[in-house]
């Protein structure tokens, strides 16, 4: 373990990425994510890596995808408006199966919105923002320390599944400074390598056992072709309905097959809970405080915190809905993740929403009030 120090969430995002082997970062300034780019600009050249500030968010996305194809581990960081612009090439990365991590530090939207104020309104944008069908992996940490871990995990998942992974922060965690003790060593997932030579009939987009292809890096002599057109195992475009269906199925299946192992959640005070709060990111900290307050009053309330946002924790929520009498979803938006919780709960218990969208983070009392309303007269 290293020494305890005060660190900002955005800094921890950069530090985690570096620990996971990121050696290329392209970015474009945008509040409240800019400190990630600034930290990378300072630290990457010290470690022999490359930072480049591009002309816009689309270009920075293009640059990380090019760098990734050339063998680098890559990250980009932005906020809601920039993420909207990146959608085009996030879809490209999904289709062409290029490992990359995009950190998204949420602020109030839509449009320019409230640039310095916290929000969690980009949940659906991370899932459904691009055109077409593909799976996505989105992680959302609740503390500075966990931001470091989530950043490492995001890089590792991007490499393992060869796809874009979104590190979904909110302004609360991104700008928070707190005490952290970072690990000296982290596990990293190495770049996947071809298992055959060209002479042995190597096909760059032929899926391995886990449905993920071992695409050769540029400059290693394989002469591969990469395109955002639907392609077959050779990498070249195909107009075949069967190839198209298989390509789209595989983009979904490679994540579905990974199962619950990539769906990270954390339960607190849940053993005997009759009521539950579901929250994520910075809001989960306030929800934790609210749940503690309820416990102190004798209320059997627990907290389920979502760390993996997508794929959604369907099975976990389904189990939870059978355990408790009601679920309160606390989120800093007009209501996004609540729709997923309702879907996964499938009517097994009522799901109420505690929404906030006035530039301010939650206060514990507001979530306490939401729990009390859900419980009605029930104090056990």
């Amino acid at each position: 373990m290293t020494k305890a120090r005060l660190m900002q969430g955005n800094e921890a995002c950069a530090e985690g990425a570096l620990a996971a082997g990121v050696n290329f970062f392209a970015g474009y300034p945008i509040t409240p994510s800019t400190e990630i780019a600034e930290t990378m600009a300072r630290l990457l050249p010290k470690r022999g890596g490359t930072f480049v500030q591009m002309e816009d968010e689309i270009a920075s996305m293009g640059a990380i995808l090019g760098a990734s194809l050339a063998g680098a581990k890559v990250m980009d960081a932005t906020s809601g408006p920039g993420f909207s612009l990146k959608q085009e090439l996030i879809g490209y990365a999904a289709c062409a199966e290029i490992p990359c991590v995009v950190a998204l530090v949420q602020r109030v939207g839509p449009s320019t919105g409230q640039p310095t104020a916290p929000s969690q309104g980009d949940v659906m944008q991370t899932r459904w923002g691009t055109h077409g069908d593909h799976s996505i992996l989105v992680l959302s940490p609740w503390s500075v320390r966990e931001t470091f871990d989530a950043s490492v995990l995001a890089v590792n998942y991007a490499e393992r599944f060869r796809m874009p992974v979104i590190l979904l922060l909110d302004e609360i965690v991104g700008h928070l400074r707190e005490r952290v003790v970072l690990p000296e060593h982290v596990e990293t997932y190495p770049r996947r390598k071809p298992k055959k030579t060209r002479a042995e009939g190597y096909q760059p987009f032929a899926p391995d056992d886990d449905l993920v292809p071992n695409v050769a890096d540029f400059g290693t002599g394989y002469h591969i072709h990469v395109t955002g057109l639907i392609h077959d195992e050779t990498g070249f475009p195909s107009g075949s309905p069967a190839v198209t269906a298989e390509a789209i199925r595989r983009m979904q299946e490679k994540i579905a097959r990974a199962g619950e192992g990539i769906v990270h959640t954390e339960a607190s005070f849940m053993e005997d809970a009759k009521w539950a709060v579901v929250a994520f990111g910075g809001t989960a900290r306030t929800a934790y405080e609210a749940v503690r307050t309820m416990r102190a009053r004798g209320g059997k309330v627990g907290l389920l915190r979502l760390m993996t946002i997508w794929p959604f924790a369907d099975a976990v929520i389904a189990r939870l809905a059978k355990q408790v009498r009601g679920i309160l979803v606390a989120e800093l938006s007009y209501g996004q993740i609540v729709h997923e919780v309702r879907r996964a709960a499938a009517g097994a218990c009522p799901v109420a929403l505690c929404a906030k969208y006035n530039m301010k983070a939650f206060e514990p009392a507001e979530i306490v009030a939401g729990i009390e309303k859900l419980m009605g007269g029930d104090v056990k």
Binding site: P45, G49, T50, G62, A70, H225, G228, F236
Partner: protein
Amino acid sequence: MSAEQTAERSFERYFRANRLPHLWCPGCGNGIAMKAIVQAIEKKGLSQDDTVIVSGIGCSSRASGYMDFDTLHTAHGRAIPFATGIKLANPKLNVVVITGDGDCTAIGGNHFIHGCRRNIDLTVVLFNNNIYGMTGGQASPTTPLGAKATTAPYGSVDRPFDACRLAEASGATYVARSTAFHVRHLSDMIAGGFDNKGFSFIEAMVQCPTAYGRKNKMASPAAMMEWMRDHAVMKAAFDKLPDTEKSAGRFPIGLLYQSEDVDYDTAYEVVKERAGGAGK
């Protein structure tokens, strides 16, 4: 096959024979420009393993699929950012960008000028057919004033870009132009770009008989090539022309601009040195 024939067709090893024939229309100039690129590669002895071809979206950008290198067919307008990432992540690679007039100067215009500004070591070949070919003949930023397109049925009133002047003003350190009629010259201009360590821009004027020629009184590919022959003037001669003749549809070809400046990879090495990370 005689030795002479073999030498003459030596460019074929730079193509993916199993991906040909190409999808371009009969009489299209894109194939000429594509061949000029591989002949320049051959002339300069660039290794196939260490050369990456990056393209955008459009007719021109399908070229990457036919060429036997690591090739990347990116999104519309975004070839230069992808190429920038490749070059910075692995500076030993030669990175060639193939783009079109819509791809490079409309949707990718911002990336184009900033690539020039950074002087990133890329060789960008713009296949300029003055039209959006793949979508069926809409006006592009290089469609001449008065020319017809499906989205300019009464003649274009949008003033066109001179992509070479744009490149020069934006900081490119090698700017040249040639045409599909001047095949050897075009290849030489591209080869000259490989010699420049920095942003090299070569505008290749190519004919599009299907989407442009038919609408603009040049129905046959030959007529379009004759037009290029008659209107392209070597830079030195062009500079001496009186203004009245310059404006009569004539345009200069050849090496239009060249300067010495630090390329981005070299500049970033200095950053690494200052930060203490050189050689890591």
